[in-house]
């Protein structure tokens, strides 16, 4: 089971589901990380955390810890 946190820079993935148990899952869904969507890890930044994803035409920076709740198919 691969999560969004394991993507490499420039790698794409399709969201399978979002782990509802993560306290941030609501926010993550609200930002548009919904099942079926393709996301790309566009930037790892200086400390490799937070990381930037491209989703629905926008760049969203989230911590690795939160990205782990985005499960890819």
């Amino acid at each position: 089971m691969k999560t969004a946190a394991e993507l490499k820079e420039g790698e794409k993935g399709i969201i399978n589901k979002v782990d509802f148990k993560n306290p941030c899952s609501k926010r993550i869904l609200e930002f548009g990380f919904t099942p079926g969507k393709e996301i790309e890890l566009v930037n790892e930044s200086v400390f490799r955390d937070p990381i930037t994803f491209s989703v629905r035409g926008t760049l969203i920076a989230i911590r690795k810890n939160e990205a782990r709740s985005i499960i890819l198919s």
Binding site: R27, T34, S45, P50, S54, G57
Partner: protein, 676 residues
């Protein structure tokens, strides 16, 4: 939804996702000038205004902080939600105007759906169409309006195009009977909400497919029609790809090694240029006040009245007004940074190190705006979700070197720098800023260690931030913002500082206005100096000063600095005014500031005959100002934002004690090493 303030004028609430152009639209509608910058979370409090008279529409409009959904995650979002459901003054809104960034409809329609589902009457204002157009796309407004079941009005945030049409729609909506929508606030029940989100996003994707159409000239229209299917997929890909320039710039600015270096370079540039760019202009302003003050003495004579005008009013407030260029440049640079879209990147870069200290990447923007003023900075902390991190951010914001300290630092730096090495000043100022940031970091670390007793909060830490598209900063907006802030500084100088200057003048001039001194054999200038100092020695301020002398002696200063330090608790800049008054500065040495510097260099401590402003004591004054919490408004806002007096009182006590103790150590430590 029923409206419950029928009878009074219509109440319209403006909501939308962060950075979608609400405040820009609000400014057009109201004729006001609130700050609009390229950072999600620039508005943290609601503002209301009547719609500008030129539209001939009598209604109240409210601008709110950005929200992503109707379920708030942070205090700024709570503010927006509150004004949607029940505004304390205006009740429930009659109409909701939702700004939707057309280049991001896929995300921004979520709120439209939620508002509809919750039964609000909405009108959509589509913004950022120019950006969508650059991707060769446009939106079928009619279709969007049909699919959503609400009116859609395109507006251009750059030119104001479409505002009249929007007003017309609002007027019509207000005339028509509210349709009975059977909305249920129940959609937001906790467990099913996440499922609701997934379903709603699915619906939105279908809408998106239908309303997005390519921008085509007539020639290729036919061709496009026949290839519609193919184009559609291509279109979607185009929309789903973030701005290509932004991606390129980010590759540099967020680069693994360069990113941090560039970040420090940008910060260093910001702080040094405040000094270098401002100095030449300040010189001119200072010259002007010098002339004015000298002119007043020549014209009105050296009696009490002439003295009040020349020294009390022109000298006292002029000493502060000299810094207007610096304040202007500070706001210009901060505004520039804000409007490019870099700040969100800055927040992301520092999230990791800050989280180690119990802070958050989101603390970065409030901390940075603390360099302008602690009050909006403390309010900006509302965008931080975790209460503990928010409290800690508020706790350390008073340590950020606000613009009111700038006059003090610049004066002391000018005092210490040799005339021929003025360029060192910028570096000195940047070092003070760096030192204050370091201190804030250390204090945050320590307070975080004791957070159980000091902050008394625990909450989940997270960081999710949208990185806005880079834009060419709008010079007009930035200039306007800098102008508004400089005007506030001017007003402060014209009110609080003016009044304080007059009071200070009074207590330094009375009661012994005409001291009897033997002036035989002295030149006119010498006689005047003697009279002035004799008068000051017997003034009310000296009496007050002698009471606090015991506190000042240990830190190497005398009662004159003491009186200035105490008056700085009303407003930090008053420290400079106060010195100008005590040393009876007029423009006799060219510029106002030069006269003050000369007088300060000459000053000696009466009992010992030693110099008053030595390297050690001057550095001591800087240290004192870095730490001391000398701002009553900061305490008040900290009380408001933390919900009790506990944190503001801790701040006052801790910071002022640290200030005194560290000044003591600095002055005496340097002396122990033989540095006076």
């Amino acid at each position: 939804m029923n409206t419950n303030n029928s009878g009074s004028i219509p109440f319209i609430v403006l909501v939308g996702a962060p950075n979608s152009g609400k405040t820009t639209l609000f400014n057009y509608l109201s004729g006001k000038n609130y700050k609009t910058v390229n950072y999600p979370g620039s508005t943290v409090e609601y503002h209301t205004s009547k719609i500008s008279e030129k539209y001939n529409f009598n209604a109240m409009i409210l601008d709110s902080p950005g929200i992503i959904s109707l379920v708030p995650s942070s205090p700024d979002e709570q503010v927006a939600i509150n004004s949607l459901y029940e505004h304390p003054k205006y009740g429930k809104p009659d109409l909701v105007v939702l700004t939707v960034d057309a280049s991001q409809i896929s995300r921004h329609l979520l709120l439209a759906k939620e508002l509809k589902d919750a039964g609000f009457r909405i009108v959509i204002a589509l913004t950022m169409l120019d950006i969508l157009k650059k991707k060769n796309l446009q939106i079928d407004y009619e279709k969007l309006s049909d699919l959503l079941g609400c009116k859609v009005a395109p507006v251009n945030g750059q030119t104001g195009e479409g505002i009249y049409e929007l007003i017309q729609i609002l007027k019509n909506e207000m005339l028509s009977e509210p349709v009975n929508t059977n909305g249920t606030d129940g959609i937001l029940v906790k467990d099913s909400y996440k499922k609701y989100l997934i379903k709603t996003y699915n619906d939105i994707e279908k809408i998106e497919d239908e309303v997005l159409i390519p921008v085509v000239d007539k020639k290729s229209l036919e061709k496009a029609n026949s290839q519609l299917k193919v184009l559609n997929n291509e279109l979607k890909n185009k929309l789903e790809a973030p701005d290509s320039y932004t991606l390129k710039i980010d590759r540099i600015l967020l680069h693994k090694t360069w990113g941090l270096i560039i970040f420090f370079f940008i910060m260093a540039f910001t702080f040094t240029s405040i000094f270098y760019l401002a100095v030449p202009i300040m010189e001119l302003v200072s010259q002007f006040f010098g002339l004015l003050s000298q002119g007043a003495i020549d014209l009105l004579g050296n009696g009490w009245f002439g003295n009040l005008i020349a020294n009390g009013i022109i000298g006292g407030t002029g000493a502060v007004l000299v810094f207007i260029p610096q304040i202007f440049i500070l706001f210009l640079i901060l505004g520039f940074l804000e409007d490019t879209g870099y700040l969100a990147r800055g927040a992301m870069l520092v999230d990791r190190p800050l989280s180690k200290l119990g802070l958050n990447g989101r603390s970065f923007v409030p901390m940075l705006s603390g360099f302008a003023c602690a009050i909006p900075a403390i309010m900006a902390a509302r965008t931080i979700r975790s209460r503990k991190e928010r409290m800690l951010t508020i706790f350390i914001i008073p340590l950020m070197s606000c613009s009111a300290r700038l006059p003090v630092y610049t004066l002391i730096i000018a005092l210490l720098m040799p005339e021929d090495k003025l360029w060192l000043g910028g570096i000195a100022l940047a070092s003070i800023y760096l030192f204050s940031i370091l201190s804030a970091v250390i204090v945050a670390g320590i307070v975080n260690k004791f957070s159980k007793t000091l902050i008394r909060e625990k909450s989940h830490s997270s960081f999710i931030l949208e990185l806005p598209t880079y834009r060419k900063p709008k010079l007009k907006v930035i200039l306007n913002n800098a102008y508004v802030n400089s005007k506030m500084y001017l007003i402060k100088a014209g009110t609080v500082i003016l009044v304080l200057s007059i009071i200070l003048w009074f207590i330094t001039f009375f009661p012994n206005t005409n001291p009897k001194v033997d002036t035989t054999g002295l030149s006119k200038n010498q006689a005047e100096t003697l009279i002035n100092s004799e008068r000051l020695e017997n003034s009310y301020s000296a009496m007050l000063g002698h009471v606090i002398q015991p506190i000042m002696t240990p830190i190497g200063m005398d009662w004159r600095v003491g009186v200035s330090l105490i008056s700085a608790f009303a407003a930090r800049e008053v420290f400079v005014s106060s010195l100008a008054l005590i040393f009876k500065v007029t423009g006799s040495d060219g510029t106002l500031q030069n006269s003050l510097l000369k007088a300060m260099r000459r000053a000696t401590i009466e009992k010992t005959g030693k110099k008053l402003f030595t390297f050690a004591t001057s550095l001591g004054i800087i240290i004192f100002f870095i730490f001391a919490l000398q701002c009553i408004s900061t305490l008040a806002i900290s009380r408001q934002e933390t919900g009790s007096w506990r944190i503001p009182m801790l701040q006052l006590f801790i910071y002022t004690s640290i200030a005194y103790i560290l000044t003591f150590i600095t002055v005496n430590g340097l002396r122990a090493f033989g540095i006076q």
